[in-house]
Amino acid sequence: MALSLWTHSLVLKEFYMPTYGNTGIHAAPIREFVETGVYSKEDHFSYGGGIPSTYVPFYRMGVAAFVMLAGVSVEASSRLWVMIVGALLPLGFYLLGKKVFGTEAGLFAAFFSAIPADLLVYTVRPLPQALAMALIPIALYLVLERKWLASIALTFFAIMTHQEAALYLVAVQFGLAAFVLIERIWLFVSKKNESHEAVERKEIAMLAFVCWAVGVASYFGWHFLVTGGTDLLSMNQFVLHEGTAVGFNDVFGQLGTLLPWLAAAGAVVLAARAAKGWPNAGELLAASAVISGIILIKNDLIGLNVLMQRFIAFLDQGIVLLAAIGAAWILLHLNQESLSATTAALRKVFLRN
């Protein structure tokens, strides 16, 4: 947490909060809400004003509430929220990593969340995605814990905090439910009895599916409330295809040295688990977190062609989890047998040469 707070203290270095990423478009309605006491469904500031305020409102309302309660400026409050995000991010990853693969994975995930540059770029500025990205690991942890009310509530909160984060979160939840649906079909077709673990996976998948449904419905509900319609594809981001294609280097160039290798180890661990039988729900969720991120950064290949590069930071979340699994597995398997096997293999290679 101290490491994350240090990296996020970048937000405090200038005389004013960062302006990259359109931070002002949130600070303006926050100030308006604080000064008038009304959260306007009309955007009075963007592109001349007089248009529906399509942005989901909870980040703005949260910062405004803090300004009203603490009496600090909108600007100071916005920067303070970044520091709160800095504290929440490793905490969320610790909880999720621990639930998925044990305490060691939780600790690795907490530290690794400080590594991806894009994850820092999108959480170090006073933006809704910063808060939503810190909530995603916690929401997923609550799903794995089968905390129905809390996970549905936090999913709703994250959806109402940021759109792209919402899309990633429901995609991960849907992916988890889809994996388990495949297992259920296999169990049905092969007429096998379901194990205790299969029942557990089914219960978690049902909750993930409900979270997905609540998330999708609440976003469409909000959009309908402010625009009177549900046609998301008519938004400029879709019509004008805002976004740039993402290549191999765009992803790996911002991951540092550790994460690619350890994530590869994590992927091998998950593949080995899948080869032996069904992975547990946490491992399926980790796979879904990576696969959902890959689909979203390559959404141009499925015809959407929108904001591809922005989803790298979300894919980073899956990669952090995968790398934590890889690191924890390596640490737990540094025993006499594996060391002897490694030494023998190395001796064979070097003696042969």
């Binding site: 970048l10 625009t227 540094l334």
Partner: protein, 167 residues
């Protein structure tokens, strides 16, 4: 020869040391270096002075021509409305507005700049000394045209930033 437990412990410690070294001395500093430019303010303290002048001398939601970074800072600090900047998801004529504001700052013609302001419904414009971004890259401001008193008058000037009023 090391005992089994000591060997395992040493291997685990070596693994953790490598992870910690790469984390703290390579990967995290690289992430901070990459993120640092994104925390830039772009707008200067002198521009903030101009924004506060607008807050004190114009009405709420007053249309004021400014680039994207300045406009968004202005809306955040003073609730004044720029012609560009903000959430363009459902903005009807966002690209036309970007074109017009780019032209406003780039043209050498005072008459053309004044017409653009009037078409945008704005009486005031902010003229910073830095390069501006109105949607099509960073552009240098042609400041000379604002000295033409046929079309503009200076409403505020702190040596770095001007607020001009169109006649």
């Amino acid at each position: 020869m090391l005992s089994r437990t000591r060997l395992e412990t040493a291997a685990a410690a070596a693994f953790l040391a490598i992870v910690a070294f790469l984390l703290l001395y390579s990967d995290v500093p690289k992430a901070v270096d990459a993120a640092s430019p994104w925390t830039n303010t772009v707008v200067t303290q002198k521009e903030v002075e101009a924004i506060y002048w607008l807050e004190n001398n114009t009405r709420i939601y007053e249309p004021v021509v400014y680039d994207i970074f300045g406009g968004e800072t202005m809306m955040a600090l003073s609730l004044r409305t720029p012609p560009i900047g903000g959430d363009w998801a459902v903005a009807r004529d966002a690209v036309d507005r970007m074109n017009n504001v780019t032209k406003f700052y780039e043209t050498t013609s005072a008459q053309e700049a004044a017409e653009i302001m009037k078409n945008l419904g704005a009486h005031y414009a902010v003229v910073p000394s830095r390069q501006v971004h109105a949607g099509f890259g960073w552009k240098t401001v042609e400041k000379q045209k604002f000295s033409d008193q046929t079309f503009f008058e200076k409403a505020f000037d702190n040596g770095e930033v001007m607020v001009v009023r169109v006649k």
